[in-house]
């Protein structure tokens, strides 16, 4: 392997300047994991190309020499999607960090993949525009990584996921060909490759340019912060708001463990004695926002909220959000390690699923802090553990797996926005049938016949499923028979 590595280095030196090529162990160390730090592996080498032509040449080389390529944005992914392999190149898009164009009339921006999510809104602000999807990691994560994961955020209930907010892409395939996907109109001719590429986790091509849609910054936004003395009541309040025909810009829930951690960290004014809090943001023209705030306030009161605060200005609104947006790092401060789950369920099962998670938490002796995108049923239970205690990581993963199975059994999915990566690959065997997985594999082959792009992630092989011993849950052998399902 050493000799193939030095041969590859020699050839890559002909493609990129030497400062763009990292191969010493201490240079490689920062790339050994992404946000799922329980999994670590040094790549063979890291390349940080500066031009499209360089990426094309790198891909051609890797394809000729059968070297796996793993793309990396900011490495904030939570499912191990950017985890290297010892025989792979890690292709960092960090140097592609330019915003190429902002078009006011069409309300779009053309950006390179390494641009940070928040930078787009910062640049668009002078035109009174912003980019709506706002993952909590937005100050760090890249738009390329967002497209690869189809990232969401606290505002995607009203404004959609990444897939709804981009209009065209340029990718480079494993053979080094540059392919344009989508065109300047809203619909494009032929098959919808834009949808297929979004969320493809670096398995189908390297994303090198993205046209994103921009929205006009709403003149007013107000957040209601409601406290409840039970999770069930908070859950019912969420359903009532939606049933009343209100689509809030964001509708988030946190349980007591999460509230206490976030409050200690961000001092957002959260009531730490509440069993659950809801954050409900309404945006638009002042008249519209005021009317909806009024309506939501009444619904929350009727749902037995014990306390409701309404943001009086933007500063207060941002403080209310600060706790929620910092929830993960805040929990990170109260535990040596945490493991973030990402299942989505039909909202009506929220109370039952939470009760079951709490039962599992007792069974495994591991505490859980719950943070959710409540409006769209996307749960982020954070399992608190200590990796230094022997066996605790394994127990945590087993517990996490049970939560995923629980989500599937109520008609949900194992991942709402963080992707499958390496983390949830075994649970794909539960969510999809053999035929469906085999079909995904065929789609992969169309783009990457020799399986060089991010191999071993997102789509399990059937032999892997056999090893995992998992059965497809849809077909009747339900794991949680006591729960109602459709």
């Amino acid at each position: 392997m050493e000799s193939s590595k030095s041969k590859l280095i020699t050839e890559l030196r002909l493609i990129v300047p030497s400062q763009c090529l990292l191969f010493e162990e201490e240079q490689l160390a920062p790339y050994e994991c992404d946000g799922l730090s329980a999994y670590r592996q040094l790549p063979m080498l890291v390349v940080l190309p500066e031009t499209i032509e360089q990426i094309q040449a790198i891909m051609k080389l890797c394809s000729q020499q059968n070297v796996p390529v793993i793309a990396r944005g900011a490495g904030t992914g939570l499912s191990g999607g950017a985890l290297p392999r010892p025989d792979s190149i890690l292709l960092s898009l960090a140097k592609f960090n330019k915003i190429k164009k902002i078009d006011r009339i069409n309300q779009i921006a053309v950006v390179e993949p390494g641009v940070r999510n928040i930078s787009i809104s910062e640049a668009a602000k002078e035109h009174n525009l912003y980019y709506a999807p706002d993952p909590s990691s937005q100050i760090a994560c890249t738009i390329g990584g967002n497209v690869a994961e189809n990232a969401g955020g606290v505002h995607c209930l009203k404004y959609g996921l990444t897939v709804h907010n981009i209009s065209s892409l340029k990718i480079i395939n494993i053979e080094g060909e540059l392919i344009s996907i989508g065109d300047s109109g809203l619909d494009s001719a032929g098959y919808d490759f834009l949808a297929l590429l979004t969320g493809s986790e670096g398995l189908l091509g390297i994303i090198i340019e993205i046209t994103v849609k921009l929205l006009v910054i709403p003149p007013k936004a107000t957040v209601l912060l409601a406290a409840f003395n039970s999770i069930e009541k908070a859950g019912a309040a969420v359903a009532n708001i939606i049933a009343a025909g209100i689509i809030p810009a964001g509708l988030e829930m946190m349980d007591q463990n999460a509230v206490r951690a976030a409050e200690a960290f961000a001092h957002a004014g959260y009531p730490t004695d509440a069993q659950a809090i809801l954050l409900c943001e309404l945006d638009g023209l002042a008249e519209e926002v005021d009317a909806l705030t009024d309506k939501s306030y009444k619904i929350l009161m009727a749902a037995d909220a014990v306390d409701i605060k309404i943001s009086r200005n933007d500063e207060e609104r941002l403080i209310f959000w600060k706790g929620r947006k910092a929830a993960f790092p805040a929990v990170g401060r109260i535990t040596p390690d945490y493991y973030c789950m990402d299942g989505t369920i039909p909202r009506k099962h929220l109370a039952k699923v939470l009760k079951e998670i709490s039962r599992l938490s007792d069974e495994y002796g591991l505490a859980v802090a719950n943070v959710f995108h409540a409006g769209d049923g996307n749960l982020h239970p954070l399992i608190l553990y200590d990796a230094n205690k022997p066996g605790e990581l394994e127990r945590t993963e087993e517990f996490g797996g049970k939560i995923l199975e629980l989500c599937i059994s109520v008609g949900g999915t194992i991942t709402g926005e963080h992707g499958v990566g390496i983390e949830k690959i075994d649970h794909m065997c539960i969510q999809f049938s053999k035929d469906e997985l085999e079909f995904f594999r065929k789609i992969k082959q169309v783009f990457d016949p020799n399986t060089l792009l991010n191999p071993g992630k997102a789509i399990p092989t059937l032999s892997r499923c056999a090893e995992f011993g998992a059965m497809h849950v849809h077909s009747g052998d339900e794991k949680f028979p006591e729960l109602e399902r459709f």
Binding site: N106, Q107, G190, Y191, V216, R347, S433
Partner: protein
């Protein structure tokens, strides 16, 4: 609750029959023409039906299988008429965000998804594809496959459910569809104003958007700009206070007539082209030979043109702005009904077709002559 009241005694599950029909087609090396309500039979390459040995009719495969208003999710068999879905949703003050064209009352959900055609609110409420959460399909090997799901957020596996929207039945039979629905707006009102030219109209729409007015559709035609506002009653009932006095209120029926091609513009039986492109271009289509007239939707990004244009001349113009032109009705011996694809996309598409439908059973040449 609505789970129960929506179940209709006429509902029928034809999945098994479809699987058998597809298996038989594979065995006999036959091609199938997939038909829903046949309201869009004119759409796509005209030579396709003649290449088919028999018809696979989806319109008897009907029934709303799941509808939970507070989850904003509805699942139905592909042959379910849009009219039936709209009716049930309206009872719960909800609607389909994509407000699909119904060129006849037989328009089915499956046909809407297969064609991917979205109504006038597209720039504001999203496309058919944007609303699709999951599909059950039967592929060209007669396998029943489920992609996506019933929840709003789901990134497990490749997003094949959205990928199949607009594939015109060339990849597989769309058997069941799950979509996200939205609450109806409390009030909708429409206004019209004279406008000197297209560019002025586009700029005017943009200005309204930058003022965050609750626009939900626009249409530019014959030097008139028509706009639609939707939102909470309190806001919309008084919306004229935010407009200058050149705006006249007009009937909301305009939008369903526009959507369903019942306006005078669409009635004349000449060739109709559908152009998708950016809004800022200063392309002047009236300079084209045989130009007749033009109607513009989607804030300048969807243009309908009538006239017997020279195909290559039109495509050249559209190419300048990376747009695309589709010969929508009364194809006049065109080479391409849809915009020709780049060699790379054509190559990928051919292989994708091969993957979904290796025996070439479904709708041959419906989109392009190559597959």
């Amino acid at each position: 609750m609505n789970n129960i009241n929506s179940i209709n005694t006429n509902d029928k599950d034809c999945t098994e029959e479809f699987v058998e029909q597809i298996q038989a087609a594979i065995t006999h090396k036959h091609c199938l023409q997939i038909i829903g309500g046949n309201s869009k039979g004119f759409y796509g390459r005209p030579d396709s039906p003649a290449r088919c040995d028999s018809i696979l009719n989806v319109s008897s495969h009907t029934g709303i299988l799941y509808y939970e208003p507070s989850e904003l999710v509805l699942r139905a068999r592909a042959g379910t008429p849009i009219a039936e879905i709209n009716h049930l949703l309206a009872k719960n003050r909800q609607c389909l965000s994509f407000n699909p064209p119904c060129y006849s009352k037989h328009t089915t959900l499956g046909g809407v998804v297969a064609s991917g055609l979205t109504g006038p609110n597209r720039p504001y409420w999203g496309s058919v594809r944007d609303a699709v959460l999951g599909l059950q399909i039967i592929n060209g090997e007669a396998n029943v496959l489920n992609f996506g799901g019933q929840v709003i957020k789901n990134v497990a596996g490749y997003d094949l459910s959205r990928f199949l929207v607009g594939s015109l039945g060339t990849l597989g039979l769309i058997n069941e569809v799950t979509v996200k629905v939205i609450p109806q707006n409390e009030l909708t009102r429409s206004f019209v104003s004279e406008s000197a030219n297209t560019l002025d109209s586009i700029k005017c729409i943009s200005q309204l958007k930058y003022r965050s007015l609750p626009l939900s559709a626009s249409c530019i035609h014959n030097n008139f700009l028509t706009i639609q506002f939707s939102g909470p009653e309190k806001l919309i009932s008084n919306i004229e206070s935010k407009l200058d006095n050149r705006w006249q209120e007009t009937d909301n029926h305009f939008w369903s007539d526009l959507r369903d091609h019942k306006l005078e513009f669409f009635k004349k039986t000449k060739s109709l082209w559908r152009l998708n492109l950016s809004a800022t271009d200063e392309l002047n289509f009236s300079s084209l030979k045989h130009y007749q007239s033009e109607l513009i939707e989607w804030d300048g990004r969807l243009r309908w043109l009538t006239g017997n244009f020279d195909e290559s001349e039109l495509r050249q113009l559209v190419n300048k702005v990376q747009g695309q032109a589709c010969s929508f009705r009364n194809q006049n011996s065109v080479n391409f009904v849809f915009q020709p694809l780049s060699p790379e996309i054509k190559h990928l598409s051919t292989q994708i077709k091969q993957t979904f439908d290796p025996h070439g059973v479904f709708n041959p040449n419906k989109m392009y002559s190559d597959w």
